[in-house]
Symmetry: C2
Subunit: 361 residues, 2 copies
DNA sequence: CCGGTTTATGACAGCGCTGTCATCCGGCAC
DNA sequence: GTGCCGGATGACAGCGCTGTCATAAACCGG
């Protein structure tokens, strides 16, 4: 510690456009440096301390207007791009949120992720995408690798997670939002709705309309299984049993819907109404009915789930159960953001559902 | 520098299960530490140097079998989760790849992103999701915030980017893959196909089938515009002009497809064949045709674009142009991975397209 | 049993940023 | 003039990891 240079040169305060003073700009390029412009270089160019540049970027209210302007100008001129890896390491806030969904090929999750991304983006957070597949076989592994990125929060699909995953999430001590389902005991927060109630409501609706020979065209998905249970229980309570079921691999699509209906129709007890575990399946069922010359809902009533964008525009228009998918993304984002600011948060949000009657039932 | 403690205690080499020796485990918790287990703590527990733990994780081939086992056991026991922010900062490799797409609500991009995510995931990379919207209005801003995460590569949709974006990407000196289009002058690498050729091919096909009153149900999207140009040029060469066009906002969907066809059919010159800028629009056109009692392809031929999952299963089955969406994701990932390892890479990959004739034409 | 090579492990510094506390300065009440 | 206060700015020490080079141990042929 003898001949160390002052780390920066003081700017003349008050002076409007301070000279970007430079002389001892020893640009020694260490073998490890990345080559890109750093905060320190900007600081040197602007004649202020690095921390002042940091503040100009992250907490401009702490910096005098003059300094702020000058620093911003230098930033623009130098093409400086902050390094959030470094920032995150130092501040313990990565400004990253991990979203783990089975798939985004199915727009039911894609839209929620979009809304999450949009809302978080407004607040400076980016979304790290994790696809766990069907069934959520890769969730455990995914969670481990995702947590090593030190996300500030995690968005999960469903409420069933391995003990190991739960423990890891708890250990991470970050906000966790489980979605698309309801439980009184979430890991942390929850935005969803009751699949059982939904199943019950649809059974009541279809039976109320006079349908008695009920069928299900159903994906082998965990949450769908709960809907089915609710449906069957409520039907049984109304004296309707013998419900025919075609189980198909998740995620459902048009093709599987056609196959599912074919199976039921060619079975021992063809239904007069089918409830499908997704709108995509329902669209398939509708197509198969058309291909067989059945009138909908005359010969066969069809009910979907999700109220995807296309549902009102099929021919005939598809009756379905509306889920506010965007709300799931948006409310999850808002719950996270509230927690980041230590604001009070509703731990469990039930977004409900709504039976939408159109032409197919 | 006088009473500094040795930073770790040497393990007895050769001994099979070395004692997890501990005594001076001064766990002084600095006010800035995160509280979670660090590499250094694991190293102390295992009686090795931090760097050895790092190697056990990232380059196990450099560590003796015994040490490796022991360290792994300690890692498992301690619940250590590596901090990739720190790792990325130190190594200049974030193992993050940014993917910028207009939307994932439309499965045309979702599938490519899924494949990208899967393939990169295998290699330890995670995908940072950026949604630029239609038109790509937010791309510039998105790119800036995304680059501050120091991704190791960027996946882009399309080949049109602002000069500022191009410059930023170049400055970042990382692999960039542009997709869904073709140009002789990509920023870096490219995986796509020629929209113009595609448009021409479809015009040739439809006219070859005898259709003469052609119509387009078209999203106002940049790449679609190129397809249209190709289509119209090739049609004109064959003496077919007066092509009716219904332009709709992007991204297309079933509803817009219905509206589009309605507009053409109620117009001065109803077409006998329509080409749609996406399968989703084509499905809408098909639905509207059915709703109007038109026979397909008798009264109206319909051609889609994309060959989405449902296309073979509509009724009648949809003729369309197949794009290997998964290949776009997979090949992009592979191009990036190859570049990470300095392997030779094909700069421009044309994945082509294929006209798929089904029942609707 | 020797010098030279290979293999396993470690010390150290530093990646680029921010939390924390210190410093400086002008303004203000008395 | 004095002491105090608050606002603006800065110095410093990390955050948790890895690149780099040094060192020690193991190996090897003659």
């Amino acid at each position: 510690m003898s001949d160390s240079l002052p780390t920066h040169t003081k700017r003349k305060p008050g002076k409007k456009a301070p000279q970007p003073d430079q002389k001892k700009a020893a640009p020694r390029t260490s073998s490890r440096s990345s080559g890109s412009v750093t905060l320190e270089e900007v600081a040197r160019m602007a004649g202020v301390a690095p921390i002042t540049v940091s503040r100009a970027i992250n907490r401009p209210e702490l910096v005098t207007k003059d300094t702020l302007e000058h620093v911003r100008e230098v930033i623009a001129r130098s093409g400086y791009v902050p390094n959030l890896l470094a920032g995150g390491l130092a501040s313990k806030r990565s400004r990253l949120v991990a979203a783990i969904v089975p798939t985004i090929g199915n727009s039911i999750f894609a839209e929620a992720v979009e809304c999450l991304t949009d809302r978080l983006g407004e607040a400076g957070y980016k979304v790290l995408l994790g696809l766990s597949g069907y069934p959520a076989s890769r969730e455990d592994e995914l969670l481990a690798t995702v947590l090593s990125r030190r996300p500030d929060a995690v968005f999960l699909t469903g409420i069933t997670h391995s003990p190991q995953s739960r423990q890891r999430l708890l250990a991470a001590k970050i906000p966790v939002v489980e979605t698309w389902d309801l439980t009184p005991t979430p890991i942390d927060m929850l935005v969803g709705f009751s699949h059982e109630k939904l199943g019950r409501a649809v059974a009541a609706y279809l039976i109320g309309k006079g349908y008695r020979r009920l069928g299900l065209v159903w994906a082998s998905d965990e949450r769908a299984a709960v809907r089915r249970r609710g449906f069957e229980e409520a039907a049984a309570e109304r004296g309707v049993t013998d419900i025919q079921v075609a189980i198909l691999p998740a995620p459902g699509n048009l093709k599987l819907g056609r196959e599912g209906l074919a199976k039921l129709l060619d079975g021992p007890q063809p239904p007069d109404a089918v409830f499908c575990s997704s709108d995509a399946l329902a669209q398939g069922v509708l197509t198969e009915a058309q291909a067989r010359g059945l009138s909908v809902p005359g010969d066969l009533a069809i009910m979907g789930f999700g109220d995807l964008e296309f549902a009102p525009y099929t021919y005939p228009a598809l009756s379905t159960v509306r889920i506010d998918r965007q709300a799931i993304g948006r409310l999850s984002a808002e719950a996270m953001l509230a927690r980041f600011e230590d604001k009070p948060v509703e731990k469990i949000v039930d977004i409900g559902f709504e039976i939408v009657e159109r032409e197919s039932t």
